[in-house]
Symmetry: C2
Subunit: 346 residues, 2 copies
Amino acid sequence: MYWELAGVPAVAVRRGTRVESVHAIAACVADPQGRVVMKIGTIETPVFLRSSAKPFIAAAAVRGGVAEAFGFGPRELAVMAASHNGEPGHVDLVASMLERIGATVDDLACGAHPPQYGPAADALAQRGEAPTALHNNCSGKHAGILALAKLLGAPLAGYLAPDHPAQRAVLALCERVSDDVFDGDRLAVDGCGIPVYATTLRRAAASFARLATLTGIDDDDAMALARVAAAMASEPWYVAGTGRFDTELLRVTHGRVIGKAGAEGVHCDALLDAGIGLAVKVIDGARRAAAPATIALLDALHALEAPARAALETFARPAISNAAGATVGEVAVLDGWIPPDVVLPD
Amino acid sequence: MYWELAGVPAVAVRRGTRVESVHAIAACVADPQGRVVMKIGTIETPVFLRSSAKPFIAAAAVRGGVAEAFGFGPRELAVMAASHNGEPGHVDLVASMLERIGATVDDLACGAHPPQYGPAADALAQRGEAPTALHNNCSGKHAGILALAKLLGAPLAGYLAPDHPAQRAVLALCERVSDDVFDGDRLAVDGCGIPVYATTLRRAAASFARLATLTGIDDDDAMALARVAAAMASEPWYVAGTGRFDTELLRVTHGRVIGKAGAEGVHCDALLDAGIGLAVKVIDGARRAAAPATIALLDALHALEAPARAALETFARPAISNAAGATVGEVAVLDGWIPPDVVLPD
């Protein structure tokens, strides 16, 4: 029934009652030392973390002193770690950060795309305005990197280059948190132009376990990660926005699960109560399968209390609607999707 | 390197030089009698053909007499078989068809979505106009079904129901061409509201072999399929539109390969010179992998002459660009992606 993928943990797309498409999943749960708590599929293949790395990128800017220098509070730190919707509140906040840095929208090299939030995109189009780099979901991250460049006395121009002082500081923190080295084909260019790194699902899970526990890293990194985690927990709307999974996950868990989506089907989560990290990759890169897989794994880890779990059901089992607005299918993990050889933690 | 899918024929997405995501493929090549010429993966699992079924849906309307009754020529027949871009030429043609039928845009039950062609969508937004059902990529198909309903003396209202006389005529032709029966979970609802059927990749390939050869079916079906095939070959822009793979494939092969994409990673092709059909399903439903897989299979079948193949290279190996416009990766079949147990035809 599931073509070649029988036996592979997967998220199914159903049309009517029949499986139409199947998304294979790999995932790892690890502790801060990188010990595997649970695994599904191949966890030693380097995966580009994409926007799931943003909490660490934001932490590098915080470690560099941007919060004190420019008066960045929890909202600013949250939007630095965000893949935001481009809603007016996100855009205005990033614009104010640039102003405080002494930069302008022209300094942002992330490129423009329409707001991810449909009503915000529609409103922009109806006003006849083109989207700017401020609407790019990564604009807060870029503002944080520009702030770091300022503090390092480095030029703003060229801040996307891997050897720019700000990017060197970012990648160094990411390497420390991952216990990994990013060179050769482990570095590429992200959708917004910055260097993106590939690390294994095991090391990604351990990185998020460190975000959860603030252990296994030096005190300055721990302090920076603590501030970013607290900011994401207290300002979840700035991490994503209206109707988004990451925002709702932070809200309903009161910040006890800090999740961050990345492009191409990545999702990483810090589980503060258990002191572990989770890293998920949809093998084919489909965004639609990432939240259903993540929630099913959080279920397996008993990480969600009943009310929180109930509030996330629309993300766990999203309906598929057609152009006329009728529900014609759904996305959901397959029954018994976790194979019997997966060892669940106590 | 390719996670669980090692050994499975696949299309890779690369970022930099590293594989970021992988799309598994199933495919079948068959003759008009449904004999397997070549297969990859599981070919006996029913797959929803989605818009790849449109040539047969259009043929049912032609068999019902809509061309003669309403003066539909090659352009109208091509747009009835189309997943069109919603460019002004497509929209105007469908509007004129409705007028000739004595129907209006309000009779279209397909729902509205913005034109698939970006510049057309932008132009509409800049004029402050909302998309209508005419812009829906399926509006030509719906106009054809409405025309058929008129000729059958059936009400236009309710034409989406599987037991409406027009849909019964459509599904009957699809069953004859497929040598299959569509009931139970083999029927569901398509993105545009009409009944959609699941058949095996083998039967889908055989259906397209019949479209290529006009054999294995009764004379009236053969005549109707011949007119649809000729219309698609002579009016390729109306089958999809500017910059689209199906339009270019028809153009560069001078209609000797009639390909039709469907949602969720389906692509089916009639190979007129070889008298065979090809059916491809991207297991995870990704649209981006369908053309690279299809072209690689057409290569394996020696179905494309060198100039035609060269003209299709941007569809065979599409670049991935980021928001700033830089090329950061590509989509392409893996080297040696066809496993050694696949038997290629002479």
